[in-house]
């Protein structure tokens, strides 16, 4: 077997607490499908037959009961439960399932919605025998108004600086603005080997990684690494140009003794394979070099290589903020050829449902309602004379007569009283909005949630 897929679905959605305090992030409906369906669909389309899903108990229950997930997903899901309270990072999770991992892995995050041709990422991993291969995409500007957002969005915070070489494939440098104190520091060894480097900032990390098996073994020995994106990836990128990697095998032992305090196992030890001599011979005889202008051989003789595939066009969203959630809901239904109105929904003839809206199953839409550019979830009851524009209505919501909802997000099981006028609001899960209420640009959540700081 070549690659094993690992889906990380235990994250809490810390940047959109208003949406996720009651519903776990993987189960948030996007385009009337749970969020976790999208990466699973991506893996299935490409040909994976089984996936290891790391998640919490709640999501596991949903995976086995939810219709959409059970019937649509044909792969075998190997669900590993972890405690929510344990607060495991992604790297900790990998360490947890180390026994199951027998080959190189493809780690996907549950909040990734994309139509990338996965073979581009995996081909880089295969062709160059890379240790890490990841996917990045150009950031899209979000155009929809986000409920509860006061003032303009502060752009430019938490940027990622990504340095690639001339071909645009080899990853040379990666740092987050938060980690840089005064300025960008580039090591001389990188500049010596790659004098031309392109530094890009407008990139979104898709959290899709192909990792060699030896990296997992490395994680087992180094328990201090908790997050893949936060710690492991920058470490690997830095390690490409580290001096120790070019040391001979003879000095391994002395180095091991040296680094006992760090307990940082030399990655090189773990990634040598037998028949290395033949591969070396083939590479020597081959008249190819990945760079030119200096005297060194291909890859500068380094054994650790990190590659990145940057998507120029196509769709790639990471649903980890409210703005992204709304944007994804806008874009995603256009991709799939599902009928916009689910056959099991009851839609009255005197209602007006726009062509760019989708209605989930078991909905009940009464007369003289108008629904434009909105997503309505399952089991929602919408009474007469309701006007819904540009909104996202999740499952089990009841909307009484005469309401006017615009640009809002109504979460599961909320009840909107009659005649309410809601503009650009976020109504939390299970909340009740009293009749004749007029709310604009507010986040309506329960009082217990408000206390969480």
């Amino acid at each position: 077997m070549e690659l094993q897929a690992v889906l990380m679905a235990a994250g809490g959605g810390s940047r959109m607490m208003d949406l996720t305090y009651n519903t776990p992030k993987p189960l948030l409906p996007v385009g009337n499908r749970p969020l976790i369906w999208y990466p699973l669909n991506l893996l299935e389309k490409v040909g994976f037959e089984e996936v290891i899903v790391i998640t919490t108990k709640e999501v596991q229950k949903a995976l086995s009961t939810d219709q959409r997930l059970k019937t649509d997903v044909k792969m075998r899901l190997d669900v590993v439960c972890i405690q929510e309270e344990a607060d495991m990072g992604t790297a900790d999770a990998l360490r947890h399932i180390q026994q199951k991992i027998k080959t190189d892995i493809l780690v996907v995050s549950c909040d990734l919605i994309t139509d990338v041709a996965l073979h581009e990422v995996v081909d880089l991993f295969r062709a160059h025998s890379a240790t890490l291969s990841m996917l990045m995409s150009k950031v899209h500007e979000f155009t929809e108004t986000v409920p509860g957002q006061k003032g303009k969005k502060k752009a430019g915070e938490q940027r990622d600086f990504v340095g690639v070489d001339v071909t645009g494939k080899r990853l040379l440098f990666m740092a987050n603005e938060a980690d840089l104190d005064e300025g960008l520091v580039l090591r001389k060894s990188i500049m010596r080997k790659h004098p031309r480097m392109l530094i890009k900032t407008g990139l979104l990390d898709a959290h899709l990684y192909c990792l060699k098996r030896s990296v997992v073994d490395f994680l087992v020995h180094n328990k201090s690494v908790t997050s893949i994106r936060g710690e492991l990836v920058p470490y690997l990128v830095r390690k490409q140009f580290s001096k120790t990697l070019n040391s001979q095998n003879a000095t391994e032992d002395s180095e091991r003794n040296q680094k006992q305090q760090d307990a940082h196992h030399n990655l090189e030890l773990l990634s040598t394979s037998k028949d290395e001599a033949l591969l070396q011979l083939a590479r020597e005889r081959s008249c190819w070099n990945d760079h030119r202008g200096d005297m060194s051989e291909a890859y500068h003789g380094g054994k650790l290589r990190c590659y990145v595939h940057i998507m120029e066009e196509g769709m790639c969203y990471r649903v980890n903020t409210l703005a992204a959630y709304i944007e994804a809901n806008r874009v995603v239904p256009k991709l799939f050829e599902d009928p916009p109105i689910h056959p099991a929904a009851v839609v009255s003839e005197r209602s007006l449902v726009g062509s760019d809206s989708i209605i989930g199953q078991l909905c009940h839409i009464s007369d003289r309602t108008s629904i434009k550019r909105s997503n309505v979830g399952t089991s929602t009851i919408i009474k007469e004379k309701v006007k819904i524009t540009n909104s996202i209505i999740m499952n089990g919501v009841t909307i009484e007569e005469g309401c006017n909802i615009q640009g809002s997000v109504i979460c599961n099981n909320a009840v909107i009283g009659r005649g309410a006028d809601i503009k650009y609001c976020l109504v939390g899960s299970g909340q009740r909005v009293e009749p004749e209420a007029e709310r604009t640009n507010e986040v309506i959540v329960g009082s217990d949630q408000l206390m969480e700081i």
Binding site: M1, E2, F48, D123, S286, C287, W288, M295
Partner: protein, 534 residues
């Protein structure tokens, strides 16, 4: 049929027609060589008419395919003026396509003419026919394969413009679960019978990501071939054998199967996949033949572990003997030919020639090197890097400066991709020009080639069998302008990126192999000796 073609092609002279008749030897399934030429021809003609009458019913496509098998790259033994045969296939194949379209209309007229010709020949050869008949029946069952040459069909990779061959290939690949790679861009008409792939459509587009049908190391190898990460005849063979070692390692015999037969069957889809990524080189072909032979020679009683270990050892010894030790032997011979004060010209990046020069430098020979390079590959830069790293004094020119630099040169060392059975050298495109100009300046040309690259094919021109690389490689950006960016929109423009060309033996003074230093024309002797050994 060949007659009608002969009639239609204008420039055919009498000699060509006779040559065509000689090619009918092949179609007649190699009947006895003991017959006189004339009798052979008569018999052939008659058989051909007979077959043609049968096949007329089956329709044009079959005929087209049969015609395609006529200009086969013919076997060396049966034809002494073999080099004449090759230009004919070009004419024949060029005229085939227009002929095929008109085939059905002409068949009746042809039939009549052929019948008449047949009757004439029958009447004339009646006494001779009887002996011919006896001998033909004896040789018909092809009972002695060592004496008779089996008919070699045209390989599919030079029949890309034949829809029937393409369909056959598609069916075969589907059966083996290997994705079919589609051709890209407009092909120059002379080379429309070859595949032309684009690097932007990798062969892995259609296979599932955790590959199931093909072993992962083979997929990796195919990707490395198609992206050019592993390039060069020796490197490709070594990498191929390395991948096969891993395949054998991971192989487990299914129940009720024998390793010797099943493993060979398992290797076929892998080889198809690799040839879809990049057409196989002659050295790779020989390596594959060797492996398949070793696998089928495994005795049935052998346990799986033992068999696998034996195979791994075979592969290791093959690489050791044919590549590593061979290059040492060749450098030993070649160093004798390098004297102090020499100016040696090399072309492109040949691993063997680089090895020779590095060894000679270590043995304290005083010489300097001129590296000639050509677009679009610009492999000479890599050769330059390796030589300069060693400490050798080098000059670097592009091939356009060749006649300027040649008066300084005392010897030319060339590497080879394959040595063909008629003494022609197949090497990177541009090599034949180097040899030509060197000959004009009376500079000795020495070709260095290991014996495992000797190939039984015969080719006299670079058209019949070649490789077309990605045409987009020719696009270059200078001063921010990319003129050829939209070359596909210009209907009258075709980009041609050839990879190989053949050099006639007249231009090559010496071939240095691990068996010694031989003239170019001794290659068939070496092949014969090799075949007898094996």
């Amino acid at each position: 049929m060949a007659d009608s073609v002969g009639r239609q092609v204008d420039s055919i002279n009498h000699a060509t027609e006779e040559d065509e008749k000689k090619q009918e030897i092949i179609r007649a399934k190699g009947e006895g060589k003991e017959l006189t030429k004339e009798e052979k021809q008569r018999l052939r003609k008659e058989k051909k008419q007979h077959k043609k009458n049968k096949k007329d019913d089956r329709g044009p496509p079959e005929k087209e395919k049969e015609k395609a098998s006529v200009p086969a790259p013919s076997k060396p033994a049966t034809q002494s003026p073999a080099h004449k045969a090759a230009p004919v296939p070009v004419n024949a194949s060029a005229s085939e396509s227009p002929v095929a379209a008109e085939k059905p209309a002409k068949s009746k007229a042809e039939l009549r003419a052929d019948r008449r010709a047949r009757q004439d020949s029958e009447r004339a050869s009646k006494p001779g026919k009887k002996e011919v008949g006896q001998q033909s029946t004896s040789s018909k069952p092809k009972a002695t394969p060592s004496e008779l040459q089996p008919v070699k069909r045209l390989p599919e990779h030079v029949q890309v413009d034949d829809p029937a061959a393409l369909k056959k290939l598609a069916k075969k690949l589907e059966r083996q679960q290997v994705p079919l790679r589609s051709d890209y861009g407009y092909k120059v008409s002379l080379f429309s019978h070859l595949h032309q792939y684009s690097r932007k459509n990798p062969p892995t587009q259609q296979i599932s990501i955790p590959v199931t049908a093909i072993h992962p190391s083979i997929v990796r190898l195919g990707l490395q071939y198609s992206q050019g990460i592993i390039a060069g005849s020796n490197a490709r063979s070594v990498a191929l054998l390395h991948a096969f070692k891993q395949v054998i390692q991971d192989y487990s015999t299914p129940p009720n199967e024998e390793l010797s037969r099943d493993l060979v069957n398992k290797l076929s889809p892998y080889i198809s996949f690799l040839s879809q990524c990049r057409p196989l080189s002659a050295s790779m072909g020989n390596a594959i033949k060797y492996i398949k032979k070793e696998i089928s020679n495994i005795p049935n009683q052998c346990k799986e572990e033992e068999a696998k270990r034996r195979l791994q050892e075979c592969i290791d010894s093959y690489i050791n003997e044919k590549i590593i030790l061979a290059s040492q032997a060749i450098s030993k011979y070649a160093i004798e030919k390098i004297s102090d004060g020499d100016v040696i010209l090399v072309y492109g990046c040949s691993s063997l020639v680089n090895h020779i020069l590095c060894e000679a430098f270590e043995k304290q020979r005083k010489f300097r090197v001129i590296v000639v390079d050509s677009r679009p590959r610009l492999e000479g830069r890599e050769a330059l890097r390796r030589l300069v790293k060693k400490g050798i004094r080098c000059t670097y020119v592009l091939i356009s400066a060749l006649s300027y630099i040649l008066p300084e040169v005392s010897k030319v060392f060339l590497g080879a991709h394959a040595l063909l059975a008629n003494g022609y050298v197949m090497s990177r495109v541009g090599t034949s020009q180097i040899a030509l100009v060197a000959k004009a300046y009376n500079v000795p040309v020495l070709v260095c080639c290991e014996t495992y690259k000797f190939c039984e094919r015969v080719q006299t021109d670079s058209f019949v069998s070649n490789e077309l690389d990605d045409p987009d490689d020719l696009i270059v950006t200078r001063n921010g302008k990319t003129h050829l960016e939209n070359w596909q929109t210009v209907k009258s423009l075709g980009l041609l990126n050839l990879v190989y060309d053949v050099t006639p033996p007249d231009f090559v003074d010496l071939v240095i192999t691990d068996l010694g230093m031989i003239p170019c024309t001794s290659v068939p002797v070496v092949l014969r000796v090799k075949n007898v050994d094996q």
